[in-house]
Amino acid sequence: MKKMWLFIGGMLAAIVVILLRMSAGWEDERPKVVFIPKTVDTGVAFWNVMRRAVLTAAREYGVDVEIAGTERESDVEEQIRLLRSLVADRSKAPDAIILAATDIDRLVEPAREAVKAGVTLVTVDSGLREDVSASFIATDNYEAGRKAGRKMGSLLGEEATVAVVSVVKGSATAIARERGTADGLTERPGIRILGPYYSNASERQAYEIVAGLLKDHPELDGVVGLNEPTAVGAGKAIRDAGRDGDVLLIGFDNSIDLIAMLDEGTAQALIVQKPFNMGYLAVRTAADALRGRPVTPYINTGSELVTRDDMFTPEHEKLLFPFTEPRDGADGGGR
């Protein structure tokens, strides 16, 4: 009789175990993810779109996202401090961090500390020199730079002088774009390159650099601005010098100012990245990694070259004018 009850007890225990297994995952906590963009400045369309994508994906993949970042892209120290403070207390550390590194080298150490603290690290847009993160989701910036360089080359012909205005010295993105642009330009042997100069992602600094260049190098034929505020600053300098159409401009990314410049002929082409895809895929990758699924170490989200002629095709319209753009032509330039 005793064994009988043992048998029944065993059966019940088995059922309870099955039930518990079924209910496992019911109450599993939503993973906490911190997204650190290069800037939290809402004036930069690129990061606005990425932020929106991050929030969309977070809802879809069931993670809680918190956005923390520095006001200025050039504030590397502040980003290091922020990253360190996030993982200082292991118990409060987030499950994953999506980082757009402001410096390719200096963020390596704090990133490594974060990984050591058990945080899943995904880098987005701008990576790290060393292979610290689980996955890197970005535009192939070398390729993007090359597209810009080639286009500039094909617009200018044989003999020309082109200035490259880059962003922040040491940023992985900037380095790749610089190299790509240089390689694209030098496919035509007659082209002379000035720079790279660094705007520190500031429209004002870019303006001053280009204004200076226009004065010092009257032979200047073209400018490549390697990010949005830089290109806007360069465009304004060219326009203010009354040389639009004469000095060609190729910029990166899309803000209303840049689009207007393209529309009005100040800029000849824009290299447009896909920040929505970047943000979305970054969250998806982080969620996958947190759930123990294999992730690809590098995802290239690609870029598009948009010119004045094809900017209003449905595909480019949707890329250039994200639905969340401010709709009145107010200045959205960087500060």
Partner: protein, 591 residues
């Protein structure tokens, strides 16, 4: 030791439990599935209503735009302006200002109108916003909304697009445009009126919809191009795809609910002008609280299973308790108690078994009583036999005879008789078992006959004729004497002439045959019996008591196959009695 799980009770309980468990599992799973299907059906229905609402909203926005168009189609000042050959003359400028004010009034009253613009073929441009910010005329007339409206008879609806009317202003709109005739009967359109729907109105409406974590709504125009999609960039980058073929299956104004291969559901609702609102839900989210549903179902199953197990155990116990009762009673019987009766009232197999058991116990008890009675009988007849062998009367008579012979000086006879008596007494009181060799029994018989011969003054003689191989056979002590006694008292004594008693013995197979025959007066009627009449009263035959005793003694000792085999008697001729005994050798085993 018996393993508890092998008991019938456990077997029944386990079988029941397993059966009920399986049934419960199947039923539980099915009812869970039915509930889930019902819930997901409700969810789908809800989505369908939601998407219908979206379609209705979108449709009504565009209908509004169209009604504005229609309103201005017959606007006299507008037609006048359109018909002016030189609209930039002061007269035209004044007209344009007045029309612009009307446009502004209409557009200002509604949030959904982004702009109202008229572009005439004569170069006139009027909008709800102050002039001066327009793009060049030649650029405007190149745009789709203008060209398509001129080419078409009716209203032209664009997909979502960037409005390019003003410099440095890029708005997402949906354009509704229509050619406008000038004054008079001219068939040629004089210009195009455009009403732009602020796309943000549609966008924010779609954004507010909740279709679960992964669900969303998108719009597709008549050509299959996306009007709105929350993941537009993913689609353009081919990181995400939608099944446009499935969407386009929905006829204008119709519905389609489709389950795709990747577990998504499409709920498509189509507007009259060809736009389709598509709701996407993930099947995993159709049942919002699926997990809870599962747990509820499982909890119910668990509860049922526990109840079922308890019930099975109780039932098994009820079924097997009579068997256990039977078992307890059998143990009693093992201990030797035959007086018990199992009280099981039920009519089923176990009841019948119990009754059979009761019958068996009764029978065993009866048999045991019979054995006891037989033993008793055996002892009684043994005693009787011994009593009959040497009655005190016989002893007195014999002793009287000896005294008498001694008085008359018959010393030799005295010696013979005394010796015979002495042997007789020694034999009957002798030690040893019940069985003796036939030779000894014959010696005893001779002693007895000697005494009787002297007492009856040689009125009879005897003859022993026993085969030598029968001499060693075992027979019961004093088994012949009653027969000899009968022969003397009932046969020879009444006979006037001297008689003869013959005793013979031989083996016939496994049987020892002993015969005692006399030539006395016999019975008063002829008798021939093959065997002893069982059941006849002891006195039914002359000399019956002695014979009956002999017969019973043999039967008790050796079984029903033995005893008196033949009793033959003829008046004045004599009597013959044949005994059958098993031919036993010295050890008492059959040879």
């Amino acid at each position: 030791m018996r393993r508890p799980l092998e008991s019938i009770q456990s077997g029944i309980a386990i079988a029941f439990s397993v059966l009920i468990l399986c049934t419960t599992a199947v039923i539980g799973f099915n009812s869970y599935r039915l509930t889930r299907d019902a819930v997901s059906g409700t969810s789908l229905e809800y989505t369908r209503q939601l998407i219908d609402q979206v379609r209705y909203q979108v449709q009504s926005y565009l209908d509004n735009m169209e009604s504005v168009l229609v309103m201005f189609m017959h606007h006299e000042e507008l037609r006048k302006l359109a018909s002016m050959p030189e609209p930039n003359r002061p007269e035209g400028i004044g007209l344009r200002e007045r029309i612009g004010r009307t446009f502004r009034m209409v557009a200002g009253s509604r949030e959904d109108i982004a702009s109202i613009v008229f572009v005439g073929r004569n170069g006139a441009i009027v909008s709800d916003q102050p002039s001066g910010r327009f793009r060049p005329y030649r650029e405007l007339i190149e745009q789709d909304w203008y060209r398509k409206a001129l080419a078409s008879d009716g209203v032209v609806v664009s997909s979502s697009r960037i409005q390019r009317i003003y410099r440095r202003e890029y708005r997402w709109v949906v354009s509704v445009s229509r050619a406008i005739a000038g004054e008079g009967e001219a068939a040629e359109p004089a210009g195009v009126l455009l009403v732009d729907l602020n796309f943000r109105v549609i966008e924010s409406m779609l954004d507010q919809l909740d279709l679960g974590k992964q669900g969303y709504v998108f719009l597709v125009d008549a050509g299959g191009d996306l009007v709105y999609h929350p993941h537009q960039q993913l689609i353009h980058s081919r990181l995400k795809t939608e099944d446009f073929a499935a969407i386009m299956r929905a006829a204008d104004g119709g519905h389609v609910t489709d389950r795709l291969r990747d577990g998504k559901w499409y709920v498509v609702s189509s507007t009259t002008f060809g736009w389709k609102a598509v709701g996407v839900i993930h099947s995993g989210e159709l049942v919002a609280n699926e997990r809870q549903l599962q747990l509820t179902a499982a909890a119910w199953c668990l509860l049922l299973v526990i109840a079922a197990i308890l019930l099975s155990v109780a039932m098994a116990r009820r079924l097997t308790s009579p068997i256990k009762q039977l078992q307890t009673h059998m143990k009693e019987v093992e201990k030797g108690n035959f007086d018990i009766r199992v009280r099981i009232e039920s009519q089923n197999e176990i009841g019948r078994l119990a009754r059979a058991f009761n019958l068996m116990i009764a029978k065993i008890k009866e048999l045991m009583e019979q054995v006891v009675a037989e033993q008793e009988q055996k002892r009684t007849s043994e005693l009787k036999a011994l009593q009959s062998q040497i009655t005190p009367h016989f002893l007195y008579n014999t002793l009287d005879s000896i005294i008498w012979m001694a008085e008359v000086g018959k010393n030799a006879e005295v010696v013979r008789m005394t010796t015979a008596l002495s042997r007789l007494l020694r034999f009957t009181t002798g030690k040893g078992g019940e069985l003796v060799p036939l030779s000894e029994e014959l010696a005893h018989a001779e002693s007895y006959l000697t005494i009787q011969q002297i007492r009856y003054r040689n009125r009879f003689s005897w003859e022993l004729d026993v085969a030598p191989d029968a001499m060693d056979c075992k027979v019961q002590r004093v088994i012949l004497q009653p027969l000899l006694e009968n022969a003397i008292y009932h046969g020879i004594r009444e006979k006037p002439d001297p008689g003869m008693i013959r005793v013979s013995g031989r083996r016939e197979g496994g049987v020892l045959v002993l015969e005692v025959e006399d030539d006395g007066v016999g019975m008063d009627r002829p008798v021939k019996l093959d065997g002893w009449p069982e059941g006849a009263a002891d006195g039914a035959l002359p000399s019956g008591v002695g014979l009956a005793n002999v017969h019973r003694r043999i039967r008790l000792a050796f079984g029903a196959g033995y005893g008196i085999r033949l009793l033959e008697s003829e008046p004045d001729e004599g009597t013959r009695v044949v005994l059958h005994l098993p031919a036993l050798d010295g050890r008492g085993d059959p040879q």
